[in-house]
Symmetry: C2
Subunit: 245 residues, 2 copies
């Protein structure tokens, strides 16, 4: 809760006008998604209750964030991926974004989240917040992506396995693509692919020319600076020509 | 709350397989929608907070209903109109229903609601649960509509103004259309048109051959009977050929 309040304050202070927020499952969505094996899709009717419970848990987290923003003067509205997205084998094939576009025009911040969604082949699955961020940034022609993490940024190899791993301050999407196989996958309760999964999703927007800033959201002030476009410690993924900051 | 619990029990007992639930705003949505004049659309930035608060209030009510259903063994999932519908001057022009169709295929009951939604001309407005019911029933080729009310059904004139008004047990859509101007409009906190508004929405599905049952949901057991297709006191709106029950 303290992190939600602090980040809401940073978002409010940043003064960014057209902002879309996407959050993950954290301790709300992941344990339930794992318990009911939701990533793998429909196997038995017992999972259906789990699907509903997982979505409700995500709505609970979403509401905490939306209310924290409202309290700080940011008009923010929940947008539910289960209500507007459909995947096929885990990849987005439908994403109704008219409401999101119109919320932005009005000056309301849409707040989306990783969610259990309907899947054309699997019945249902988990749509990661990272995949959503990539799709939204391209559909909405975003100026940039600020990806808040609980680490300082991207390292040249998995720091959990390699103590000599070094933080990368800037990288092109092509270089990132070459690094991908060496990055860490899911660990613990994360059901959506860890750092390798995140970076794989960020490749497409980065290649389209949307700079991606990775910042440590656990360190106070870094998200605020990144939103303001100020120089921040972290990793910038950007095409050669756009690497100025 | 007692009414939500009782109706959830009736829905659970009915055993209806493919069911979509749509609820209204009640004491949750209507007062806020009225306070911020949301039906009229965007007038000033102060309404944006009201838009967010109204939607959150509807999500609160929606959650009470979904959780009451889950507790009774009905897998039910919230579907948020703000996330999947857009209107133009208050009439639906976009309604993404792929998730609803797939939830039904899986055996999950989608639970929608009257909501504040984005509007192509007004900025935003209120989409009534009644308009949603009509659109959903036609898009999904519903077998029938059960419309739960707090009165016994449709009278030949507004009973609030005419003490001699009589309950109509059966009526064709054409006859209903002729009656419409004499029916009661909005009263009190209802922002979406009262009985006349409801009946105007029900005309289109009824004309397409989808029977509409009006039952008093405040009287225990009537929704259960109507869902089971049993004879119930109330009003049946149906084309001549389909008036058997």
């Amino acid at each position: 809760m303290r992190a939600i309040e602090r980040l809401s304050t940073e978002i409010s202070k940043s003064g960014v006008k057209k902002l879309v927020i996407v959050h993950g499952g954290g301790s709300y969505g992941h344990p339930l998604a794992k318990k009911y094996s939701l990533v793998e899709g429909f196997r038995n009717a017992g999972q259906l209750r789990g699907l509903c419970e997982t979505h409700l848990a995500m709505l609970t987290l979403n509401r905490l964030i939306v209310e924290a923003l409202l309290e700080r003067g940011v008009a923010a509205a929940p947008v539910s991926p289960l209500s507007c997205a459909v995947t096929r084998r885990g990849r987005l094939v439908r994403l109704e974004l008219s409401p999101v576009k119109r919320l932005l025009e009005l000056g309301v911040v849409p707040v989306l989240f990783g969610d259990v969604v309907m899947d054309e082949e699997l019945g249902f699955t988990i749509l990661s917040g990272d995949q959503l961020i990539a799709a939204l940034s391209m559909e909405l022609n975003a100026d940039r992506i600020v990806l808040g993490l609980d680490v300082d940024g991207l390292c040249d190899k998995d720091p959990k396995q390699h103590p000599d791993a070094e933080l990368i301050e800037e990288i092109s999407p092509e270089e990132l693509e070459r690094l991908l196989p060496g990055l860490g996958g899911s660990g613990g309760i994360d059901v959506t692919g860890g750092m390798r999964g995140k970076m794989a999703e960020m490749l497409a927007p980065a290649k389209r020319g949307i700079p991606v800033f990775l910042v440590n959201a656990a360190k106070p002030g870094l998200v605020l600076k990144a939103l303001r476009g100020e120089s921040t410690p972290g990793t910038l993924i950007a095409c050669e020509g756009r690497r100025s900051r």
